[in-house]
Symmetry: C2
Amino acid sequence: MRAVIFDGRLRFIERFPEPEIPSNWALIRVLKAGICKTDIEITKGYKNFKGVLGHEFVGVVERCHNPDWVQKRVVGEINVGCGECRQCVNGLERHCPRRRVLGIVGLNGCMADYCVLPLSNLHMVPASTTDHRAVLVEPLSAACEILEQIELTGSEQAVVLGDGRLGILCAWVFSTVLSDVTLVGHHPEKLKMAGWRTLKTTQLTANRAHSADIVVEATGSGKGLVDAVSLCRPRGKIVLKSTIASKSKINLLSIVVNEKSIIGSRCGRFKAGLRILEAFPDMPLERLISADYPIEQALEAFKVAIQPDTLKIVLDMTGEK
Amino acid sequence: MRAVIFDGRLRFIERFPEPEIPSNWALIRVLKAGICKTDIEITKGYKNFKGVLGHEFVGVVERCHNPDWVQKRVVGEINVGCGECRQCVNGLERHCPRRRVLGIVGLNGCMADYCVLPLSNLHMVPASTTDHRAVLVEPLSAACEILEQIELTGSEQAVVLGDGRLGILCAWVFSTVLSDVTLVGHHPEKLKMAGWRTLKTTQLTANRAHSADIVVEATGSGKGLVDAVSLCRPRGKIVLKSTIASKSKINLLSIVVNEKSIIGSRCGRFKAGLRILEAFPDMPLERLISADYPIEQALEAFKVAIQPDTLKIVLDMTGEK
């Protein structure tokens, strides 16, 4: 099968071996796969991962033991827990210390004609949902994770730093439950594009010090956390949304004296993302797709994906094999 | 009056002017005042404070407009808010951006024969409570603040890093509600002394990585936070309890990937501390007092207070003036 792999360098392979199917797992024919910042980090050495890249996809179940799932269009949770530890037992497979993660830890990913996942990781996609919307369920669910971690009353003032894909998704998810949400970024076109419902967008953070109830750091830079701490009000919450593979200097004194909280936030439950898709069919997710590339052009697609003006680049596997 | 001041250097003054009493404030004759790490930080330049030091005290109301309070033994909340801002209106005077803080920001402290505070900051001390226990209400309430910030089910495993006064108080407060609490420190005598109820004490953190539900950082060192992050389980909480006037390097990646939270925690409500005093008369607070010094010997007392084996040093104002 065709596959995009990283084995020290990024490569497109025409004839990669098809995956074996463990029992209770499904073989999925991938339709589309998104390129995520984590994929780009992996090509720089993150997690020391070697194998097929990719963890954002929409596909069709080709083979599995349960006939109800065969030929169904699906998206899939990316964490595969051990099923036995304290985290797994509590439904937190995504925090299992022995977990494998699709295209990130110990499990070949979805930038290929086929991938495999446990059937229990899969969710069917409603017919009304386009492939482009479905491929965004993974990052959309990651944005929804914030709502699982923070209890909101509805009157909170939220600021999202970073006008990349994840920042915009977080801002949109907040806008489904809060009326006072501001997205702060540096790219006028992205900010313009991000407008939805009551969401405000701006390039400035001046005159906002110590006022926001919740600040989401989605810039992916160490500076972003420093800004987030200063924008957050006393007793407010700072949500760290970007996996920055570096150490950052922060002034702990302000965190202690002003009793702020810093909350790490990562993957979310797909049910949350799918629920948002259903409840808000007008959420303009398609705007996040900058371009589709056939899988054969994956290397060029990755080059475009790292450009600052790019939003989501999608690899397409539906073309001729 | 006698007073311990900092005006660029730490000094004992025999004849410092007595404070004026604003309306609705009380003049308090101080009986005892504790030396806190923050006082020592101030003598190194923290908050750029100049004036009478001290914010931990027990005293007797000498003069005020309400006769019910006169001659009553009291302790006092240290934050004086503006009374008008969003924080003050929500009962969070301790987060008012314009607050004055006894002996720390814009308000002379309690290491003197007299200090003044708004009557609304004062709490009467039950006759059964000794002066030594009462002088510890301020740091005890700071430890109780954690219980206000974190909702506990009772089954959590908590680890407190740091066997100083605040670390021990946090461990004791946790031990009033949790059965699995461990205090980690480097001083065998302090650890032995800290034993109370089911509290476990140890010098080792080995084999504990990623297991604790809650980790309190009370070492006052940057290293303490690094240890706290690695001891904390995925989705667990790290409470930052020490006001470290420095920048610390932390690995944000572990916070994000494991969805840990870092929660800054500072002053607490005195009602919480007084309630604990009443409910747990066997909490061995007296053990935390290393020695009493007459106020005239304040400079020597400060020297002893910074020794690593010292717990709480108390200044006594009840001797001859």
